[in-house]
């Protein structure tokens, strides 16, 4: 047998929806069959009467009274429910601690956190390029963690970014540290003067960690994604990262890390690095170091070595004053060697910088000269090779072949710099300069733009009088070096030009603010690092319906 009980609260006004809410909560209590919570206006009393909820007490209520009626299985249950009214009203207000709004779109997130310059994208690869493109359209840098993004999309994104002075780190970029905040997977590393660009996630992590462990610190660690230094992507992000660090006042030393890069791309990067105006530690895995150091480039033999070099350089006070050099030459190098090993050494020292570099001593077929009698592009010739010495004396003794080839090269307008080795000592020609210097002088007279470099190998005890040799050659107009490294530095300085950098990214704003799209734990770790962040409650567009997504893409004009 059901029991109906009521309670009147005089003069207690609540908005009708609050009352409906209370009524719903009362109905949810055990044993409650029906409930009515109303301001006791005549119309409301009528409503209660219609549903058999109007008690004798209730009838006496006035319009400004709150009337609460409960119909329950027993008197105890009804009374119990009424006793909970205050509790239920209170519960409402404590439940009011609701989560703040989570935007669903990038545009919405950008409005919610206008300071965000970065978008971290970790959505499935199928959708990643679309999200990244939208981020660029909103004028944001992109940290693109997602993999399975096509090379075509990667190229398109990086082009778009470069045009806008933005960075795309990735795709498949596992790690980065921006303004001391780790994106993706990143170690906690103190801030400091070393800036890194890396086409290698774990490479970047291990170098940054080692720098920290050695007492150093990191200004920025820019990831580029593993494919950035492949030929088709062309090092777009690395180039921009380098330009950023070169311009960044907080970065004193730059570290460049890559898994085996494409040779031509590596060449362009090194040319850019030469113009960075600060020490650059280069760690290209799989490429032999051309020297320990060439100008401001310090070549590391591995990741740990790179970290150590960087920390040492950052502690040192050396400023890599960019050598004030004359306008670089636009033509090609022609190296005419009498010594095979010297040719090889110089070839290896230069082939990262002058690409492509051809030689008859090259190991890789694409660098082999097609016709040793005709130079092509940058060429280094070992004239002591059998193909040249058949039937004649070795060029260390007989200059005839070299003089003829020198003339041939000087007549080639493509040639801008001719490099010769002159090896003194027992058994060698008694006075090589006496034959070479006039030829050099003659060539220089015919072509003012043609330069000569001589690598002079010998000692002050050699019979040819090394000082005398040097003087003759210098007088003829050649620049003379007695060691290989300065020779390489000189040639690199004369023949490489920093690539035209696209718009250098603007300084990253402090404090870092990031829009996170995708993996929520990346958002959590941003917040844990005290970065400003907003997480996008992302879903596949059009719930993943390919047909609709296709139409929507077309509507965006993409």
């Amino acid at each position: 047998m059901s029991v109906t009980q009521s309670e009147i609260r005089s003069g207690a006004y609540y908005d009708s929806v609050v009352l409906m809410q209370l009524q719903r909560n009362l109905l949810a209590l055990p044993g409650v069959e029906d409930a009515g919570v109303v301001m006791a206006t005549p119309a409301n009393l009528e409503l209660l009467a219609d549903s058999q909820l109007l008690t004798a007490d209730g009838k006496a209520a006035k319009p400004e009274d709150l009337l609460i009626v409960v119909k329950a299985a027993s008197a105890a249950k009804a009374a119990g429910a009424l006793a909970q009214v205050d509790e239920l009203l209170k519960r409402r207000s404590s439940a009011a601690v609701a989560g703040s709004f989570r935007p669903r779109s990038l545009a919405g997130a950008a409005k919610a956190l206008p300071a965000a310059e970065w978008v971290s994208v970790s959505v499935p690869g199928r959708y990643a390029a679309g999200v990244a493109e939208e981020a660029l359209e909103l004028g944001k840098h992109v940290f693109l963690y997602s993999d399975n993004v096509s090379v075509e999309d990667e190229i398109k994104l990086k082009q778009k970014a470069a045009e806008a002075g933005l960075l795309v780190m990735g795709p498949d970029c596992g790690t980065a540290i921006v303004n001391g905040i780790g994106l993706g997977f990143a170690n906690r590393v103190r801030r400091g003067p070393i800036g890194l660009v890396a086409a290698s996630g774990t490479g970047l992590q291990s170098v940054t960690a080692a720098i920290h462990n050695l007492g150093g610190g990191v200004s920025q660690a820019i990831g580029t994604g593993g494919r950035d230094l492949k030929a088709d992507v062309g090092g777009a992000s690395t180039q921009q990262g380098l330009a950023y660090l070169a311009a960044d006042a907080d970065t004193r030393v730059i570290v460049l890390v890559s898994k085996p890069p494409d040779a031509a791309v590596a060449g362009r990067l090194l040319a850019a690095a030469l113009g960075a105006g600060k020490p650059v530690v280069v760690c290209f895995l799989g490429f032999p170091a051309p020297a320990q150091r060439l100008h401001n480039l310090h070549f590391a033999s591995g990741l740990d070595h790179a970290a150590r070099l960087a920390v040492e350089l950052s502690l040192g006070n050396q400023s890599a004053a960019p050598s004030k050099k004359a306008k670089p030459l636009s033509g090609h190098l022609r190296g005419l060697f009498s010594g095979g090993t010297l040719a090889s050494e110089v070839f290896l020292g230069l082939n990262l910088f002058l690409t492509p570099l051809f030689s008859n001593v090259a190991m890789r077929s694409e660098e082999k000269l097609t016709d040793v009698h005709h130079s092509q592009g940058h060429t280094i010739l070992d004239l002591g090779e059998d193909e040249f010495t058949v039937g004649r004396l070795h060029p260390m003794m007989d200059n005839d072949l070299r003089l003829r080839r020198l003339k041939q090269e000087a007549a080639d307008p493509q040639a801008s710099l001719i490099l010769l080795d002159v090896v003194l000592g027992e058994g060698a020609h008694a006075d090589p300069a006496s034959e070479l210097a006039p030829a050099i002088a003659a060539a220089r007279k015919a072509r003012k733009d043609l330069e000569f470099v001589v690598l002079l190998v010998g000692t002050d005890e050699d019979p040819q009088d090394i000082e005398q040799q040097s003087k003759q050659l210098s007088k003829a107009g050649a620049t003379v070096f007695r060691e290989i490294t300065p020779t390489l530095e000189h040639i690199i300085g004369r023949l490489t030009r920093a690539p035209v950098t696209e718009t250098t990214p603007q300084p990253f704003a402090e404090p870092l603010a990031v829009i996170n799209v995708g993996v929520e734990s990346f958002y959590d770790s941003l917040v844990a690092q005290d970065a400003e962040a907003v997480h996008v409650d992302w879903r596949p567009p059009a719930s993943g319906d390919e047909e609709l997504m296709g139409i929507l893409e077309k509507m965006k004009g993409r």
Binding site: D15, V17, A35, L48, S51, L53, R104, A542, S543, M555
Partner: protein
């Protein structure tokens, strides 16, 4: 390639620059284009008698009795079945009506003129709470109240509005949003403003002091008095944005109790329909969702024009309809920014630092993000004449937006 962004900017700026002025009250047959004695206008997209839900059928019966075309329910049904009654959506006649929205030839309607673009829109008079035609009630008292509204209050309102020179509904709404209204489910402040503005004119033009008092009491006690002029104003604004070549903005959302219908600015006059859903909400004593009719009414024109659920942040008092909190009210509006083209230049929300309300629903964003528009709504009993059983939140079915996207691709050869 059509410039969708530009088309949408044109559409939404027309919507926002429209200035709806309440110009008068007159019988539908005298002002609504194409109105005739055997034509009944109804809410939502087109529908035939056989598919009409309870409340709509009830309102049809009531209107036929009101018009004197039928004596009772049986008469009315027989008349309909003989095919002597024509039905058309309000929307096809520049008209909107809350809930069933049934409007017949001799009913007094509000006349709203958009002074910026010159188009006109209409809506019937609001009956207040309880047993009312718009919820499908057609008892004697219902018809008697309609008669009083039509014969006593209507002419007085007509004279008063004329004497006032017109009432700027956009300005009134902008003010009401700063007083806790969202313009759809909560029109408390707006209705008081409306009554206050008209009161002196009503007093001036009405000689019978008992009638004066009756009218002022009726308007003043009805927290929905202004809903109908507001809806007509929204219709005038939305119509100004309709028919823009290439635009993907919604120009009408409306429900007939069976179907939820959608119109898109750049897709002509076609409707995209799918079954209407039952709102999620709070129910009056002794009712539950089992009693509820699927979503009904043209009042979604408010959300179409950037108020209603889209301005929920301005009306935290009513968020409890969906067991919400004030934060949820903010979130509701913030969510709607995700799918709209602009922030309203006239309707602002104090709680969001006076940001304009999210305005101009873009079907592209709806489909891409999977976010359908929010709608605040009253809930009708599924049986004719039983009236309102609650209020709550509903969303249109995603299908109508997806269909519209496909139709767009076809029409614009994408």
């Amino acid at each position: 390639m059509i410039d969708i962004e530009k088309a949408n900017q044109t559409a939404v700026s027309r919507m926002m620059s429209a200035r709806p002025i309440l110009k008068g009250v007159a019988p539908a047959s005298e002002v609504i284009p194409g109105m005739r004695p055997n034509l009944l206008l109804h809410a939502g997209p087109p529908i035939e008698w056989a598919r009409m839900s309870g409340p709509l059928r009830g309102a049809v019966i009531g209107a036929l009795i009101f018009e004197g075309l039928a004596k009772n329910e049986r008469d009315a049904e027989a008349l309909v079945k003989k095919g002597e009654v024509d039905f058309a959506p309000c929307h096809h006649h520049a008209t909107v009506g809350p809930m069933a929205g049934v409007t017949s030839a001799s009913m007094m309607v509000y006349i709203i003129e958009n002074e910026t673009h010159g188009n006109t829109a209409y809506s019937n008079l609001n009956e207040g709470y309880g047993k009312v035609l718009r919820y499908g009630a057609y008892s004697k008292e219902v018809i008697a109240k309609l008669k009083w509204m039509n014969d006593a209050m209507g002419p007085a309102l007509a004279k008063a509005i004329e004497a006032s020179g017109g009432l700027d509904i956009r300005a009134l709404l902008a003010e009401a949003l700063h007083m806790g209204d969202e313009g759809h489910n909560r029109n408390k402040a707006g209705s008081i403003l409306y009554t206050t503005k008209l009161a002196p004119w009503i007093a001036q033009v009405t000689s019978d002091s008992a009638l004066k008092a009756e009218i002022l009491k009726f308007l003043g006690e009805n927290a929905l008095s202004v809903l109908n002029p507001v809806m007509a104003a929204c219709k005038a604004m939305a119509d100004a944005a309709h028919g823009i070549e290439g635009s993907t903005l919604v120009s009408a959302m409306a429900r007939n109790g069976t179907d939820f219908g959608l119109r898109v600015s750049g897709l002509g006059d076609q409707w995209f329909n799918a079954p209407a859903e039952v709102p999620d909400g709070l129910y009056f004593p002794s009712f539950s969702s089992k009693d509820a009719n699927p979503d009904i009414g043209d009042s979604t024109i408010t959300e179409t024009a950037g108020i209603g659920a889209f301005a929920m942040a301005a009306a935290p008092a009513i968020v409890t309809f969906v067991s919400g909190t004030p934060q949820d009210a903010l979130n509701a509006t913030l969510e709607m920014y995700e799918i709209t083209a602009a922030e309203h230049s006239h309707f602002t929300i104090p709680q969001l630092e006076f940001r304009g309300t999210p305005t101009g629903i873009d079907i592209r964003k709806v489909v891409e993000l999977g976010i359908t528009p929010r709608v605040n709504t009253g809930i009708a009993h599924k049986d004719a004449g039983a009236g309102q059983v609650g209020a709550g939140l509903v969303r249109p079915p995603m299908k109508i937006f997806e269909d519209a996207i496909r139709a767009y691709a076809k029409q614009y050869k994408l």
